[in-house]
Amino acid sequence: MAPSPNATTADESAASGEFRVKKTRFQVTYRLDAATAEGSAIGIDVPFGTRLVPSVESGQRVKPGQVLGRIELVGGLSDAEGTVEQSRDLLRARSVGPVLAEVGGVARISGSAVWVESSGIDVVVGLKPLQELRYRGMAFSGSASVETVLGQQAVPCMAVWLSRSKSDPDPEANSGAELASVHCRLGENVETAPGLSAVLVLASPAQNDVVTVPIIYIGLDAGGENYVARVRQGDGSYSERPVIVGATDGVRRVVLSGLEPGDVLAPVVEP
């Protein structure tokens, strides 16, 4: 079977375990076993450290494409010097901007939670906690392969969002259980039913000509304030260099600054 068309590029590592940096294309594609389910609302992801300034009233009917509000940073960007905080700031800053209703329905705003009430069929995948963190780190578009009255069909997602179950019905039985889910709302014209197996394909926006390295080459410095890479010097020794990082698919990580094509890295051993 051919490997997944997921993130990135061909192998750059040397036999010794070193990795030579170069610019590549980075796009995360996940192909996940899923199931169809009745849906009653579409969630709006408001990332941690941001808030939605609404431009509609809670309870107001909204049309597809209507602006619901604008994501803004809470407290602005930090002035921290460490690249961990700087990376976090850049991630938050990327979500700033207008938020549109992807389907029509009734807008609901309650505290930091924002959603659009709208019934339909969703394609749903449960996520483990580590997956949830990673999936929240980037925006996805999606498509789903579902069983319909016309047979198996690949259809686009009208909206993709993450939800979190607010209560755990059986905490003991579900220790380590899936608390979060990723949802894909199917179009009204998709004649399917809840409770069927499906496949959900999620794709992040493609980033061209970015530095990506396997995550084993990125670690934290002794103080835990900086992401660092171990870069080979002219004399063959390695020195830690702070880097600002971006999205990851769990295997590769975008490095936004700190590394240049041609740099040779050794795996980082966390302190």
Binding site: M1, A2, T9, D11, L32, P214, V251
Partner: protein
């Protein structure tokens, strides 16, 4: 109280009694020995036709695994042979999945699952091995390494009991290696 008449046995009938008694004793003895024997009594040899087409060293490893022996204890011989074949194939499949996981982490891209060995005489366990193989291939194609990691560290999965290194029955399991973040080959 009625009296019981004792009939003296003739020497002929005494011989019959002794023969019957001897047979009963023999049957009891055989049953006792069989009952007390360990489960290895029905263990196939590594040259059993059920293993043709599979790696001999893995076959011998599985046959000498106490965990594998426990799993077939009490099984009928044919069932045990089928399960042994399944376990040999599972050892190979699960180690292939581990190698693919480690390669994915090192190289940044999921490799294809290597072609799995097919026994010349597939046992009834072949269907579950085919399903397991499809699962691993599907996880490698998912693009999400966390799914493969979950599969290999699942307490009900193959990674929980199969040793990571061939022949190292007392060593770390595949699950141990994945949880420990070992990257294989030169370990990064």
């Amino acid at each position: 109280m009625p009296s019981v008449e004792r009939v003296p046995a003739s020497s002929g009938s005494r011989k019959v009694y002794l023969r019957v008694f001897g047979r009963i004793c023999a049957i009891i003895l055989v049953a006792a020995v069989a009952g007390c024997a360990d489960s290895r009594a029905d263990m196939p040899s590594s040259s059993d036709p059920v293993f043709v087409g599979l790696d001999r060293s893995v076959v011998e490893e599985v046959l000498s695994s106490p965990v594998a022996q426990d799993r077939v204890a009490g099984d009928a011989p044919e069932v045990a042979r089928s399960r042994y074949q399944g376990m040999v194939r599972n050892f190979v499949l699960c180690r292939s999945a581990l190698a693919a996981y480690q390669s994915w982490l090192r190289e940044g891209q999921a490799p294809p699952l290597p072609e799995q060995p097919e026994p010349l005489n597939p046992a009834s366990s072949a269907a579950s091995i085919a399903r397991a193989t499809n699962t691993i291939e599907s996880l490698l194609a998912s693009g999400d390494i966390e799914l493969l990691r979950n599969e290999l560290t699942n307490t009900a999965g193959c990674g929980e009991w199969i040793p990571a290194s061939p022949g190292d029955l007392a060593g770390p399991t595949i699950s141990d290696v994945v949880r420990g973040g070992q990257l294989g080959k030169d370990d990064g």
